[in-house]
């Protein structure tokens, strides 16, 4: 290692100033702005009052959107776990020559436009979509089934977006397991299932928890799937922020809601980091 102390700072300069001026200060601004007053006309009035937060918690309307956001995020985490663990385990144990291609394929949706992937669920779940078309044609249904614009269709979009994150996290931690541990368990008389339950599963938990955190955080801030695939009753907190800021131009209230969302995420990430460590997450993204 070299010891010219100014050099690393010179190298870091551009990146740090970008993040400082374009992220740290702007986020600080949200916090400041959330205490301001909205003027009926003209510029917002600088102030220090909790009216915007009081408005948020005044009745059940806004908190229910927050609770729905948390619930949908937990549902997404759970569904991604159920759908993601087995494929990750498949990659880990499979001896197929196509393993690297299969892994590449699961990464592929990352490269494909988010809005196209989300919007396409309308092609599948809509009244004239793939599933209804098929069911009507073979005569199971006489009228199309309404599968769109509810929590289920929002979850479809969310899973399609987040599943690769979960699979990769679990796979990375499975790959890190020393295979001789499994052989030891097997040689001492464990069945395949016991070896999985006693050795593989516990050792893969760091990946499971890292994937779960990432999926939770990304779902909680999500805007597009509820907007495109959800109905009026499926609004999540990001949709609320967008509506207040861009729709009604209520910047102070929009800022307060942003602070509520940010606080929720900071609490969750901080707790996670405190007990489990955050490093695992970035490991899988490489």
């Amino acid at each position: 290692m070299q010891n010219e102390t100014w050099k690393p700072w010179a190298l870091l300069g551009p990146a740090l100033s970008a993040v400082f001026f374009l992220l740290v200060i702007p986020v600080f601004f949200i916090v400041v702005y959330s205490f301001w007053l909205r003027a009926p006309t003209g510029a917002d009035i600088p102030a220090f009052q909790f009216g915007n937060y009081a408005k948020f918690f005044a009745d059940f309307f806004y908190p229910s959107i927050l609770i729905r956001t948390i619930r949908v995020s937990l549902e997404t985490v759970l569904l991604c776990l159920v759908m993601g663990y087995i494929p990750a385990y498949f990659f880990y144990r499979s001896k197929t020559r196509f393993k690297s291609i299969l892994l590449l394929l699961i990464m592929l949706p990352f490269w494909i436009s988010f809005i196209i992937r989300t919007m396409s669920w309308i092609n599948i779940l809509g009244d004239t979509g793939l599933i209804n078309h098929f069911l009507l044609k073979i005569g199971i249904l006489s009228d199309p089934l309404g599968m769109l614009y509810n929590e289920g269709s929002v979850l479809m979009g969310l899973i399609q977006y987040l599943l690769p994150f979960m699979i990769l996290n679990i796979y990375v931690s499975l790959e890190g397991i020393d295979k001789s541990l499994l052989e030891a368990a097997r040689s001492m008389g464990c069945t395949e299932w016991q070896a999985f339950k006693e050795v593989t599963l516990p050792l893969s938990l760091p990946g499971v928890s890292a994937g779960s955190l990432l999926v939770f955080v990304l779902t909680a801030g999500t805007y597009l799937p509820p907007m495109i695939l959800g109905g009026p009753g499926n609004e999540m907190i990001a949709n609320l922020i967008f509506k207040r800021v861009i729709g009604t131009l209520d910047w102070p209230f929009g800022s307060a809601i942003s602070v509520v969302l940010l606080t929720l995420l900071v609490i969750i990430v901080w707790t996670y980091n405190r007990y489990l460590g955050i490093g695992q997450i970035f490991k899988s993204l490489q």
Binding site: M1, P8, L11, L12, G13, P14, A15, L16, A18, V19, L22, L23, P26, F29, I30, Y33, I86, Y89, F90, L105, I106, L108, P109, W111, I112, S113, F114, I115, I116, R117, M119, S120, N123, I124, G126, T128, L130, H133, I159, Q160, L163, L214, V217, L218, A220, G221, Y223, A238, I241, F242, V245, W251, S255, L261, L262, L265, V269, I278, F282, Q286
Partner: protein, 263 residues
Amino acid sequence: MLKISGWSLIRAYTILVYVFMFAPIAVVIVLSFNPEQFGCFPMKGFSLRWFAKLAQNEPILHAFKNSLILGSLTAVISTAIGILASMAFVRYEFPGKNTLNTLLLSPIMIPEVILGVALLLFIRWLQQPKSFLLLLIGHVVLTLPYVLLIVQARLVGIKIEYEEAAKSLGANAFQTFKEITLPLLTPAILAGMLFSFTISFDDITATLFWATAQNQTVPVKIFGMLRNSISPEINALGTVMIILTIATPLLAGYLSRKLARGS
């Protein structure tokens, strides 16, 4: 016997997950060739009608141009900044290193809605109008963490001895970087640029906050079109974007292999 059937269940399950992941993509591509007026099933033949219509849609072509320029500039700036910062993180020791690294990676974990509001609020306070520049700096912040992850991972793998050997032979720091580090980093630089281009090209949520009517990107345009209903034109546009975003990394992979062989 039990083991075989267990494994085949796992395999079947994995195949179903792939079907789930690729169904929406496949359906967009299939439907984009449907000549029907409405973008839905059943298929009534095969036609390139909607692609032809797309090629004459001025606003979309304009958005495409915007997206390409924005994505390319984002890729160049973000990767340049990212390489410098990665050099600092991998090659030097300094106080607060881990904290700063986490800070620079944090945009991955912060919801785009918040990034969107924050930057917009800041710009408003500075009394600047929304502009192309706002989109550009915003996209640099969005993509920088990914560049850092990719370049740092690669840089860790380049032995510092190569650089030290060059220095002991009389090369200065800049020459060492140019002659030794940079060529070895080329695959990571290409990957970083590609990644940031794609993220910028596809970004929708934060971009919805920052874009103006003049600076619409393709996803913002699609978002606007979706308000009416899904038209076959959107499916055609989706197909173009899918092909583009898949072809670019393949092409880059091919080019980087060719470059590696050439040098």
